[in-house]
């Protein structure tokens, strides 16, 4: 992650701006008047380096690639506080998702966990496989021990549905 230096950046990219705004839905970022209410409740400490209202402002000016390369969109916990607090219905949270979508689309660097989880779900249908817990009393707890039914095996149908959805990309 690097922060943006607008003095050395390439300059606004209006085509990319349009793409980002479209993905964020209804071109809402145009309505932002930089009141910073969104940033007032943002819990992500990392987003203090480039606050939600600054992200909106930069995208609105066309510095989309710069914001994506800052990696800041990946620090958003999707808590939706900014979305509810914004008096203009701009929803920085949705813009963060739009920027992440664009990062995937443009082949930019994406945190490894996202691709790992996506392929895990594609293979197994779930984010994780059943895990045992070792309790403080040194007892191994698992589903069987708790008397719970077995977890179903990954279904071929699920994977095919997933793959078909990907074809629409």
């Amino acid at each position: 992650m690097t922060l943006i230096d607008l003095m050395t950046s390439k300059g606004p990219d209006l085509g990319l701006r349009l793409k980002a705004l479209k993905k964020a839905g209804e071109h809402k970022p145009y309505d932002c008047y930089q009141c910073a209410r969104c940033s007032s409740g943002c819990p992500s400490m990392k987003l203090l380096e480039l606050k939600p209202h600054e992200v909106v402002g930069l995208v609105r000016m066309g510095f989309v690639e710069e914001v994506i390369e800052s990696g800041m969109a990946w620090a958003c916990a999707s808590c939706l506080k900014c979305k509810e607090r914004c008096p203009q219905d701009v929803a920085p949270a949705d813009l963060m998702l739009a920027l992440r979508n664009l990062a995937f689309e443009m082949g930019k660097e994406v945190p490894e966990a996202y691709t790992r989880i996506l392929s895990e779900v594609m293979e197994f249908g779930f984010v994780q496989r059943p895990q045992e817990v070792l309790t403080k009393r040194l007892v191994r707890v698992n589903r069987e021990r708790l008397g719970l039914p077995k977890m179903p095996e990954p279904s071929e149908r699920f994977k095919s549905t997933f793959l078909r959805a990907l074809e629409e990309l």
């Binding site: 509810e84 966990a113 989880i117 994780q128 895990q131 179903p152």
Partner: protein
């Protein structure tokens, strides 16, 4: 109570916290609620990760899960705010947007499924409110939960407001009331409505960023003198419970899922609620409750 719900487990509950699943099954039985397993269901899918990737893929997989409940002919109940928000939002989008619904059905058709929009997605908390009701709930209580509790709602139980019945996102009270109905005292603490830190894929991709938030929240809870946290979300539960170990915090704040606290108040044995398999021991609160 003759009610029937399709139990949507998701990933975290069956794989990481089967204790919550056990508690759910036993509490449902005690309340006379029938839970039907959703055979073939998958990850909801994880909204933070999937929406970051591509909206249509997210929608298709969620639709597939919704179809399974439609086939069973009952509404869905979930015990994770993530699954709740993912399935509920997908359900709303698909019902409202005919073009998207057609596109998704075009894919599902190949796998003998079709989305009709016949079921609702409910959180366990809503089900307790609807089917039991807060006054009735008090009557069910056999062992009052005499504890000081830090109530944590979790972001997506409340937001987006547009899709939720309760319209207060900064000062809601319904969960505090449901906790107090069990005999506990909901204490106030600093920045109560703050996120646990896990959402948006941040827990997996940026653990330090996530734990920063978790640490702050748990410190505020500890400072307020809470005996434990009660949360209605399996993902927040995971973040608070495992997070204390991952961040090396020496706070030892026990975490209960709401369904587990309800089970205790109903007089179910701690073993039946999986209370011995948390990362942070719940023994101090069991002791206080004289188990």
């Amino acid at each position: 109570m003759a009610v029937r719900y399709a139990l949507f487990l998701g990933c975290i509950i069956p794989n990481r916290y089967p204790s919550i699943e056990l508690a759910t099954r036993n509490v449902a039985q005690a309340l006379g609620m029938e839970l039907v397993d959703m055979k073939g269901a998958s990850c909801c899918p994880a909204p933070g990760v999937f929406k970051s990737f591509d909206k249509f893929t997210w929608l298709t997989i969620a639709a597939r899960n919704l179809c399974i409940a439609e086939g069973l002919g009952c509404d869905i109940v979930t015990l994770c705010n993530g699954c709740y928000s993912s399935l509920k939002e997908a359900n709303i989008i698909l019902k409202e947007d005919a073009t998207l619904q057609d596109k998704v059905n075009g894919i599902l058709r190949d796998f003998n499924k079709k989305f009709y929009g016949k079921v609702e997605v409910r959180h366990f908390i809503e089900v307790v409110q609807r089917e039991v009701g807060i006054d009735n709930l008090r009557r069910f209580v056999k062992r009052p939960l005499r504890l000081n509790v830090a109530v944590h709602y979790g972001c997506h139980l409340l937001k987006p407001k547009r899709h939720r019945e309760v319209k207060s996102v900064e000062r809601p009270t319904f969960l505090d009331e449901l906790v107090e109905a069990l005999g506990a005292k909901s204490i106030s603490y600093r920045d109560k409505m703050m996120c646990c830190g896990a959402g948006g894929g941040v827990r997996a991709s940026n653990p330090d960023v996530a734990l920063d938030m978790t640490k702050e929240k748990l410190k505020n809870i500890k400072d307020a003198g809470a005996d434990c946290v009660i949360s209605p979300c399996a993902f927040c539960h995971l973040q608070f419970d495992r997070g204390q170990v991952e961040a090396g915090l020496q706070l030892n704040v026990p975490i209960l899922h709401y369904v587990q606290s309800l089970g205790l108040a109903l007089g179910l044995e701690p073993e039946k609620l999986g209370l011995y398999s948390h990362a942070i021991s719940v023994e101090p609160i069991l002791k206080k409750l004289a188990y």
